[in-house]
């Protein structure tokens, strides 16, 4: 049945997508239930735990605090977009694996999307800053150490690559 459904057009992981969603459906449920991207998880639906963190127009957002209708015209990136085209894990995912930055893995997509948005800022960050910046996503398994190490390594890698590009330019 349709209960005030809206048509939504968005770019999802580089692909143009059109779908319908009830007015009261939040963006996380929309991504999972209507677009089949179940890598984005739902943990509290009140914007605290950060499991549902995705990138909307380049910013990390908690998609449980957005309505699906707000994604109309937006560019959305979810965890499914991160791996390299040849199927390999990207540098951030590899760093999480190397540093044991995940155990049950439920929070992992949220941290990966948050870290991706941090890297996009192109600023160096200390460990303390990283700890502050990632405090919007909770993890109950790891104690965060592996996550902090992985994000730190990835940000440094991005910094170095950025510098190389600048030199070449």
């Amino acid at each position: 049945m349709t209960l005030n459904e809206n048509e939504i057009t968005l770019t999802l992981n580089g692909e143009s997508v059109r779908a319908w969603a009830p007015s009261r459906m939040h963006a996380a449920d929309f991504l999972r239930q209507r677009l089949g991207r179940t890598g984005t998880h739902v943990g509290c639906e009140q914007g605290v735990c950060g499991m549902c963190t995705v990138m909307v127009d380049g910013q990390a957002v908690k998609s449980c605090l957005m309505l699906a209708a707000q994604l109309d015209g937006a560019e959305v990136r979810t965890v499914e977009s991160l791996a390299e085209e040849n199927g390999d894990l990207n540098a951030l995912q590899q760093a999480f694996k190397r540093h044991h930055g995940l155990q049950c893995g439920f929070c992992t997509p949220g941290f990966l999307m948050l870290a991706t948005s941090l890297a996009a800022r192109g600023e160096p960050m200390s460990r303390e800053q990283i700890r502050d910046e990632i405090s919007g996503v909770l993890c109950r398994c790891t104690g965060y150490e592996g996550i902090v190490r992985a994000v730190e390594e990835y940000l440094q890698l991005q910094q170095n690559e950025g510098q190389v590009v600048e030199v070449e330019a």
Binding site: G43, Q46, V48, E80, S135, G136, R140, G143
Partner: protein
């Protein structure tokens, strides 16, 4: 063909030593196989399972801590378009039996805990009605349209008050009081020793109520095919085979009709141990509607409907001679189990390790299980051990202050030495082996304890005073045996099991009932299996948590998986290896003794040209072609293994705190953990487990608490906004040190590691605060410890000093 292998006696010491010399994978930080899917968003958690024509369930819950249900009118809900089915208590009573208990308290009656409340509800959040509709949102709309008339009843939310004369009774038809049961253990003559002791300390210690809070809430998808008589359950559980048993009991159908699978589980921590009301409800709806029914717990429900942890009150008595030698110890503890008995009930483990790592022959413990109008309490990581560690270790420091002794020296004096082990504690459990003293000394050295003790407690320039606190512990990991469990009335065994099956691609399918909850068992199991077989790590594919494909097992809890599974893996792999060698040798025309397995091949020991791929060898076995005449076709082994005893992990933590003596504000500046879990199969995973559990322990020590309003009985901290779970920025610097004393009672010498971190933080921090504030004379007798509780302790100390002066 199946080759069922009998569980053998404990492997001989020599065998283990020989094996440990040539370990190729055991002891290596192999990257986790689980990560590949989880990092790509390809995990399959319960809410990711989706069926065509699936319906969704919502649950209406009692808003009062204790209330009689006078009437329920569902008519308006049924009129809402899209609503398919509604259940009330009456129908549930007709169609199902009460939830059963896996770990009953000896002597406790079976309470009539139905999936929906009958004439009354005994906790806020107890399910009263359930609705299935085309969407969750619509099902919730329908719940709003159901009219329920409640008569609120007097409630009790404090466990001690609940046991007093005249307290409101929760279950008068089953129990004459709110005492569900009590039981105890004793050794020697503690009362006589206490009578004769030079020093006797008594204290009441309160441990707060917390929630395990896995990031994935509970969930269930139930699919019923009536013609096949098959109920297929996808659920987020640590114990698929036990859920199958309990569901069969509640639904009154045979276990053969039920398949339970848990693919990826987003954390459990003891909370996902067994059947909950919603599992039964989703099944009943699915059976009535013949359509798939999904229920995903939302976080507000989770705080009220999933079992809580810890809350208990410990009345400890520690008696010593003038030198500080412990002569007797007793602990009478009251656990608050809430409104109903949960599948795993109250913490028996507090009774097992209440004497800690100390030499005390005369000791007694008594457990009293109290019912209150709160959410049921169940297992939570550590499960009784952080509680008694806090009580005992705080008391040890208190004794040191009373006697004017150094807390480190007092622990040294009383600690069991390696030569004292094995040591039997009053419960009959046996500490297997270990060097407890070494961990104490390592922790002290790491924080420069001696220099700190020699310096005065003066404020730093920032006004804060430094203190160091120690906490030593012994932790039971795994279960002693099925016989030990039987004595306690447990409805589960102590064994683990695996099936290994060769496939035609030349790899090995490993089937286990252990679900993947973040503990990395898929990686560790493959390491052990590949180690014994001689194949590559990648040649073993682990299939977890499906009752239809795995041999019957026990499950992922009590730090027991590897304790038991290591043996099962070895006992299944050895005959698998031998048959592979026999068939491979036959194919090569050599003797089995000349053949070895390496990588993906069987080859001649000395002649590298004589080789045959495993895909060939396994295909021969599966086809029954090209094998010796006296061999049967097939290559598949199953082993069940029960360790002869529990393995006890041990260690010492040291906390360094800086506290402001005016405001009570404090921070943990360093936290050092020295820990021994025997042989570490994968050191990277061990570190992850210890760190993760430490942060949970720090959370419970420093702020997490489920508080109930004393007047209304309502949960006050029942959302993520109100419950202070540690964030990345809240975690103090943690340093880990390990010792490795192999356990003599397990295969490969492993000890459990999943829970240990939850144990020492509370006591170490309390002791550090007392050390820093030694000149003020503060004491702590409750967890959590917040700046407010430090400030109150300072006020109390000042008042008592002034009182003494006046």
């Amino acid at each position: 063909m199946n080759e069922f292998v009998e569980a053998p006696a404990a492997p001989k010491e020599t065998t283990r030593q020989e094996e440990s010399l040539k370990h190729r994978l055991i002891g290596t930080s192999v990257p986790r196989t689980e990560d590949e899917r989880l990092l790509r968003g390809d995990g399959r958690f319960t809410d990711d399972v989706q069926f065509a024509h699936q319906l969704e369930m919502a649950v209406g819950r009692c808003p009062f801590p204790h209330a009689r249900i006078l009437s329920i009118d569902v008519s308006r809900a049924l009129e809402l378009e899209g609503v398919k089915h509604v259940l009330t208590g009456e129908q549930v009573r007709e169609q199902s039996a009460p939830l059963t208990v896996l770990r009953p308290v000896p002597g406790a009656p079976q309470l009539p805990y139905y999936a929906l409340a009958q004439d009354k509800a005994t906790y806020e959040g107890q399910p009263v009605v359930s609705v299935v509709a085309v969407s969750r949102a619509l099902a919730e709309d329908a719940i709003e349209l159901i009219e329920i008339e409640y008569e609120p009843l007097p409630h009790v939310s404090d466990a001690i008050a609940a046991l007093e004369e005249g307290a409101p009774l929760l279950h008068p038809q089953s129990l004459a009081s709110n005492l569900l049961a009590s039981n105890g253990d004793r050794a020697g003559e503690p009362e006589a020793r206490i009578e004769a002791a030079d020093v006797v300390l008594r204290s009441r210690m309160r441990i707060g109520r917390v929630t395990p809070l896995p990031m994935e809430t509970r969930g269930v998808v139930a699919v019923w095919r009536p013609g096949a008589r098959e109920l297929s359950i996808h659920t987020s559980t640590q114990v698929p085979h036990l859920v199958r048993k309990q569901l069969a009991e509640s639904l009154r159908i045979g276990e053969e009709c039920i398949r339970v699978s848990a693919s990826d589980v987003g954390g459990g921590f003891g909370m996902k141990l067994g059947v909950y009301p919603e599992d039964v409800l989703a099944s009943l709806h699915a059976m009535a509607l013949r359509r798939p029914v999904k229920w995903i717990e939302d976080r507000m429900e989770h705080f009220r409907a999933s079992t809580h942890g810890r809350e208990s009150i410990h009345d400890y008595c520690l008696a010593a001679d003038a030198e500080g030698r412990f002569v007797a110890m007793t602990n009478t503890y009251t656990t608050d189990i809430g409104g109903w008995n949960s599948p795993f009930g109250s913490s028996q483990l507090s009774s097992v390790i209440f004497t800690g790592p100390y030499r005390v022959a005369d000791a007694a413990v008594e457990r009293r299980v109290a019912m209150t109008n709160k959410t049921p309490v169940g297992a939570y990581r550590g499960y009784g051990q952080p509680e008694v560690n806090f009580a005992l270790e705080v008391l040890v420091d208190r004794l040191a202050r009373k006697l004017g002794k150094d807390p480190l020296a007092l622990r040294e004096l009383n600690m069991l030495r390696p030569e004292d082990l094995p040591w039997t504690v009053p419960s009959g459990a046996v500490y297997d082996s270990g060097d407890y003293l070494r961990t104490l000394r390592m922790a002290a050295e790491a924080v420069d304890y001696a220099a700190h003790r020699a310096s005065p407690r003066v404020p730093r320039p920032d006004g804060r005073i430094l203190g160091i606190g120690l906490s030593s512990f012994v932790e039971r990991t795994g279960y002693a045996s099925a016989r030990f469990l039987a004595n306690r009335g447990s409805k589960f065994g102590a064994h683990e099991s695996v099936t290994l099956r060769a496939n035609r691609s030349g790899t090995i399918d490993l089937y286990t009932g252990v679900s993947s909850i973040g503990q990395s068992s898929e990686t560790a199991f493959a390491q052990i299996c590949a180690e014994v077989l001689g194949v590559d790590f990648d040649a073993v594919r682990v299939h977890s948590g499906d009752t239809a494909s795995s041999p019957l097992n026990t499950g992922a809890f009590a730090s027991r998986t590897l304790i038991a599974a290591a043996g099962a893996l070895r006992e299944a792999a050895l005959p698998f290896r031998d048959k592979t060698l026999r068939l491979g040798a036959w194919a090569l025309g050599i003797a089995p003794e000349e053949a070895v397995i390496e990588g993906y091949e069987v080859r001649h020991r000395d002649d590298a040209d004589k080789r045959v791929p495993l895909s060939d060898v396994f295909s021969r076995a599966i086809l029954g072609q090209g094998i010796p005449h006296d061999e049967t076709p097939g290559l598949e082994t199953t082993a069940h293994f029960e360790p002869p005893s529990a393995a006890f992990s041990f260690g010492t933590a040291a906390a360094v705190v800086a506290v402001d003596p005016e405001t009570g504000e404090f921070s943990v500046e360093r936290f050092v953990m020295v820990h021994d879990c025997g042989v570490a199969v994968n050191p990277m995973i061990v570190e992850g487990q210890v760190r993760g559990a430490l942060v949970q322990g720090l959370g419970a020590a420093l702020g997490e608490e489920l508080r109930y309003d004393a007047v209304t009985g309502q949960l006050l901290s029942g959302s993520m906004l109100d419950y202070a779970v540690p964030r990345a920025a809240d975690v103090p610097p943690i340093e880990l040190l390990h010792t490795e004393v192999p356990s003599p009672v397990t295969t490969f010498g492993v000890r459990g590691v999943g829970e240990v971190g939850t144990i020492p933080p509370g006591a170490a921090i309390a002791n550090a605060l007392c050390d820093a504030l030694a000149d003020y004379g503060v004491e702590f007798s409750a967890l959590p410890i917040t700046p407010e509780s430090v400030w109150r302790a300072l006020q109390a100390a000042r008042e008592s000093t002034q009182g003494a002066a006046a």
